[in-house]
């Protein structure tokens, strides 16, 4: 954990002064804002099961593959390309501290952008309080559940991005790899949406694994729980496992680069 805080500060500074971060954030928020406007306009005519705020959260999650690569692709790929990773490693900094610092910075920035996106319903509430109440924007549990959902999925998504960035010296390759991995994961979640597994007798190993690991792709189903403020522990655990798995793999990759 040596040097974690300093790496974090340095990375945040790097993200704040990088034009690509601002360009990506601007387009992401603009598109999301336009989508949110039309969604709210037509919401009363649809049979959508999630409340509008949770829909925005799910929208943010599905938009993440377009945003996360911009936040993570530079972290290791650019350092490797320039050779500054070697200079960094010559200081008393541990590999895990380095990975954790870069990941926290990316996650922090992702959450800032999510916070800016969550300003859309707040602005609506400020401008049109009655309509906002009718859409459920005054429900505190929606906000808590939505923020928790974004935080845990943001953590795992940025961990995937950091891992992809460790694998190559080319930022574009790292970005595309992150985009592909996240899109595949979200596609798996979307295709299995609505399926429910029977956990009556997890007697044999395959069934046990299916139950244990199978719900990794049930994130969207669990979004309904989060929407009403229920923090689903299995989703929390699964995303934590994914996060630590990718951070662990990233640390191993950084260690491997030394040899």
């Amino acid at each position: 954990m040596n040097g974690y805080w300093h790496i974090l500060k340095h990375e945040l500074f790097g993200l704040f002064i990088s034009p690509s971060t601002y360009v990506a954030s601007f387009y992401f928020l603009s598109l999301l804002g336009i989508g949110f406007r039309f969604f709210i306009e037509g919401f009363s005519n649809t049979a959508w099961i999630l409340p509008p705020l949770s829909s925005l959260v799910v929208g943010l999650t599905f938009g993440a593959p377009a945003l996360v690569p911009f936040l993570t692709m530079r972290s290791f790929a650019e350092e490797r390309r320039l050779g500054t990773l070697e200079t960094l490693m010559s200081a008393p900094v541990g590999s895990f501290g380095l990975v954790l610092g870069k990941w926290t910075a990316a996650l922090f920035f992702f959450l800032i952008i999510c916070a800016l996106a969550l300003c859309f319903p707040l602005l609506l509430w400020y401008g049109f309080p009655e309509q906002a109440v009718s859409l459920g924007f005054n429900e505190l549990e929606h906000w808590i559940g939505g923020c928790a959902f974004l935080a845990i999925f943001g953590a795992s998504f940025t961990a995937v991005g950091i891992f992809a960035s460790c694998l190559t010296k080319n930022q574009m390759v790292a970005g595309m790899l992150t985009f592909t991995l996240l899109t595949l994961y979200l596609a798996a979640m979307a295709f299995t949406f609505g399926e429910h597994q029977n956990i009556s007798s997890p007697s044999d190993l395959s069934q046990f694994l299916q139950v244990g690991l199978g719900s990794l792709n049930q994130g969207l189903n669990k979004a309904q729980h989060f929407a009403v403020g229920i923090i689903d522990l299995s989703t929390l655990l699964h995303q934590a496992v994914l996060t630590f798995l990718f951070l662990g793999l990233s640390t191993l990759q950084v260690e491997r680069l030394k040899h």
């Binding site: 790496i7 340095h10 790097g14 990088s18 200079t87 960094l88 010559s90 200081a91 008393p92 030394k258």
Partner: protein, 349 residues
């Protein structure tokens, strides 16, 4: 001095080995560096210099052997060792978007410096490398190669290191900037030990106390300039400028040293004088004795006498040539062996 009272070496390397795939980069090298020494690390490309420096700075692990920096074993406490080391990597990669002061601030934080001590160390490092305030405020990406190199050295000096490892510190620098780097090392001589890798031999000769010459992952020579001269040049060469004839001069010299040989004589620009180059295999003392005898001899008129010492380049070429020859021989041996094996293989149609 007894063995017990001998100061602990700053670097102690014993039988260090490293392999990259099929290539044995280091074949068991051993050396040590004392406190305040400036040691030149020389060798042709691919000799294993950068690998050794990277192992010593804790960037890569060795396959086997022992490397201690300030008495701390690298294999056991890599993080602790890094606190005692300042490292300037080859090509000196730096983040271009940061200002010099921001970069040094970040590096000082990573190296555990805080508060007033951090500010003081940054100021001292900037001063040591002649980086004025105006330069410190500029973005690294906008600096010239010379200034970037100085920023790298300032970073290496930040945390009061006891050992500074400089991998090609003057590569691409103009002579003035190289001289500034040398001066900086001179100023710090005694407090800090330097391990300097360079291909610019004149520079190493000018500022290093000792040299280690590496070739094919082995140390082929080690010692002070005098040691290396004795080791690789077994004949003392001296020059005489005189208006006397070659035969008279040779006769006078042969009376003192039978083994002395005239290598060549060239005309000097001054009318009727020539420069005679002799060699003796009886050392510098004999050459000095010859000089004294020639001066006493009233029949001869000697206007100049000079013992020419071989420069580091000559020594380097001889030291590495031996190793190249051995490697070539081994290579040929291998080739011959494989050729024999090939010839014994049954031919298939």
């Amino acid at each position: 001095m007894s063995a017990e009272s001998k100061p602990l070496p700053i670097v102690d390397v014993i039988n260090l080995r490293k392999r990259y795939g099929l290539v044995q980069a280091l074949k068991g090298i051993s050396f040590s560096i004392g406190k305040g020494e400036i040691v030149g690390f020389l060798g042709p490309n691919g000799a294993g210099k950068s690998t050794t420096l990277r192992i010593l700075s804790g960037l890569i692990p060795a396959d086997s052997g022992e490397a201690k920096v300030c008495g701390v074993d690298l294999a056991e406490e890599e993080g602790e060792v890094r606190k005692h080391i300042g490292f300037l990597a080859e090509n000196n990669p730096l983040p271009e978007e940061l200002r010099v002061i921001e970069y040094l601030n970040f590096r000082a934080n990573l190296k555990g410096l805080e508060g007033s001590r951090k500010r003081e160390r940054i100021r001292l490092a900037l001063d040591a490398c002649d980086l004025e305030r105006r330069i410190a405020e500029r973005k690294i990406g906008n600096l010239s190669k010379g200034y970037r190199q100085r920023v790298g050295i300032a970073d290496a000096l930040l945390a009061e290191p006891r050992l500074v490892i400089l991998d090609e510190p003057t590569i691409g620098l103009d002579p003035r900037q190289s001289a500034i780097t040398r001066k900086m090392m001179e100023r710090l001589r005694g407090d800090v030990s330097f391990l300097l890798s360079s291909h610019i031999l004149s520079e190493v000769e000018a500022c290093c106390d000792r040299m280690i010459i590496l070739s094919h992952g082995q140390i082929v020579a080690e010692g002070t300039m005098n040691d290396l001269q004795k080791m690789f040049i077994n004949k003392t060469v001296f020059e005489i400028v005189s208006s006397d004839s070659k035969i008279d001069l040779q006769k006078a010299i042969r009376r003192i040293d039978q083994s002395c040989e005239l290598l060549y004589d060239d005309p000097v620009e001054v009318l009727s004088k020539r420069r005679f180059t002799f060699s003796t295999n009886r050392g510098e003392e004999k050459a000095e004795e010859i000089l004294r005898a020639l001066i006493k001899n009233e029949e001869l008129s000697i206007s100049e006498f000079q013992i020419s010492r071989p420069d580091l380049e000559t020594i380097f070429l001889r030291a590495t040539k031996k190793n190249w020859e051995v490697q070539d021989y081994l290579g040929r041996g291998k080739k011959n062996r494989s050729a024999k094996i090939e010839s014994h293989k049954p031919k298939t149609s």
